[in-house]
């Protein structure tokens, strides 16, 4: 996969500012969509992500059909996930199965109950992430179909 040059720094890593912008935009877009909002659980769910290359920590907070992202460490997250920014991006772009990422050690469940990840998977954030990533330039505006495999 070839990313837009603007989306990476001189070391070929994803731009953390664009990643932040994409996450915030994806959450906003999901909350503006009836189907997306309806798939956010009522019960509170807090997933803390620790990304590397570049380093970025953020938390997805879901509760009462509301999803938001914050860039801080929560007090008592349900699950802590660790992976590189590239792996996170590939999962959200729909190019990497999160289970495959877990089995192959690309994504670690550092702490928490892995079953809570099912609730996270039920939130269709990927579709909104992919759209926003293209809008903000984290991902090329058009992706060749063959690159998806």
């Amino acid at each position: 996969m070839i990313l837009d040059k603007r989306s990476k720094n001189s070391e070929g890593l994803l731009d953390s500012d664009l990643l932040r912008e994409t996450l915030m935009g994806a959450c906003e877009a999901l909350m503006s969509d009836d189907d997306g909002r309806n798939r956010v659980p009522e019960a509170p769910l807090t997933i803390f992500h620790v990304l590397a290359d570049p380093d970025l920590e953020f938390t997805l907070h879901a509760a009462e059909r509301n999803l938001r992202v914050s860039f801080e460490r929560p007090v008592d997250p349900d699950v802590i996930l660790s992976m590189t920014a590239h792996v996170f991006h590939e999962i959200q772009m729909g190019r990497l199965n999160p289970v495959e990422a877990g089995v192959r050690g690309k994504m670690e469940v550092i702490e928490g109950d892995a079953m809570r990840l099912l609730a996270l998977q039920n939130i269709p954030i990927s579709a909104f992430y992919a759209r926003t990533a293209r809008t903000v330039g984290l991902e090329p505006a058009t992706t060749v179909e063959s690159e998806k495999r």
Binding site: E100, A114, L118
Partner: protein, 339 residues
């Protein structure tokens, strides 16, 4: 709608291959994350075919054990139903091999391929043959050997294993025992969510030969993300439908065999039914998930351990790639219910 006359499971049996593979071995070989596998799949070790073993070896042994367990003879079987998506050969499928090996000379053979949901479709089909008066006794043989159908480092190997299991399903006259209600579902929009391409006409054999990629499980990540939470919903949908048909409440059910694909999936299904894990039995920790082979093993072990006995009310649910699913509600039959 209730199907009459009743049918019930009279005997169960299973067969496992020789080779046990631990998470640590998968880590050594392919870098698989043992901790993640334990945490998500709940699998400590699984069993794979050993040198020279074939699916039919397991299927025949499982079938023989089920006949012995039921106390019936090969000649007593009117119909053999097999479900396997990893038979010895592309054709013929496993049914005729099992029929010949077990000497089921009177039995017609029906091969189905319902992937991991084979047990429910097999039981449902057997029930209908019996209800139609065409059969009295059906041998249902299920299983898969996906370890030889996928690449060495396919992630499927983390959760899946090889096994075969079998049930003798027989007509019963007592309306209070046996299969009480079943329910099925299908969502073809998820067809591409999990695909095992080999062997298939979409990917010709001459191309498959040259690339390991063709033998790798193909997951469509976005669709698969939909499937995982949906499994619990489908389990609940069938449960509600079955309970309504049987005119039972959830409190009437003693034991549940959820789709046994992974620990978190089983927990999610039990949670969706409003039940704790104390109402089921986990075998995947030591056996992995052998596609259509696991559910009958869960039932067999539950019977052996006295968790299920005569009069127990049981719900069995399975999901297969495609995606298709089915649930069955039954009352476990005492031996005297059978002729």
């Amino acid at each position: 709608m209730r199907v009459r006359p009743r049918a019930a499971i009279r005997g169960l049996g299973h067969a496992l291959p020789q080779r046990t593979v631990t998470n640590e071995e998968l880590h050594e070989l392919h870098g698989f994350n043992s901790r993640y596998i334990r945490m998500v799949f709940g699998v400590q070790e699984r069993v794979f075919l050993g040198e020279g073993e074939r699916f039919s070896d397991l299927a025949v042994t499982a079938g023989r054990r089920a006949l012995e367990n039921a106390g019936v003879l090969a000649d007593d079987i009117d119909l053999l139903i097999t479900s396997c998506c990893s038979s010895d050969n592309l054709l013929p499928k496993a049914g005729t091999v099992v029929q010949r090996a077990l000497g089921l000379s009177r039995a017609q053979v029906v091969n189905i391929n319902a992937a991991c949901s084979g047990p429910n479709f097999g039981m449902g089909l057997a029930w209908r043959y019996i209800a139609n008066g065409r059969c009295t006794r059906v041998l249902v043989v299920m299983g898969d050997t996906l370890s030889v159908s996928s690449s060495e480092d396919d992630i499927m190997r983390a959760a899946f294993s090889d096994a075969a299991s079998a049930a003798v399903v027989e007509a019963v006259l007592d309306p209070e025992v046996g299969f009480m209600a079943d329910s099925y579902g299908c969502d073809g929009t998820l067809h591409e969510a999990m695909v095992l391409r080999s062997p298939g006409s979409r990917f010709p054999m001459n191309e498959q030969r040259f690339s390991e990629e063709y033998h790798r499980t193909l997951n469509q990540p976005e669709l698969m993300s939909d499937v995982m939470p949906l499994t619990a919903k489908w389990c609940r949908d069938c449960w509600d439908d079955c309970l309504a048909k049987a005119e039972w409440t959830s409190a009437d059910v003693d034991f549940v065999s959820p789709h046994p694909v992974s620990l978190i999936q089983m927990r999610a299904q039990m949670e969706a039914l409003g039940l704790g894990m104390d109402r089921t039995l986990i075998v995947t920790d030591e056996l992995g998930h052998s596609g259509s082979g696991t559910s009958f093993i869960v039932l067999e072990r539950a019977v052996e351990q006295g968790i299920i006995d005569a009069g127990s009310r049981v719900y069995c649910f399975t999901v297969g790639s495609g995606f298709i699913w089915g649930g069955m509600l039954m009352t476990w039959s005492p031996a005297e219910a059978f002729s």
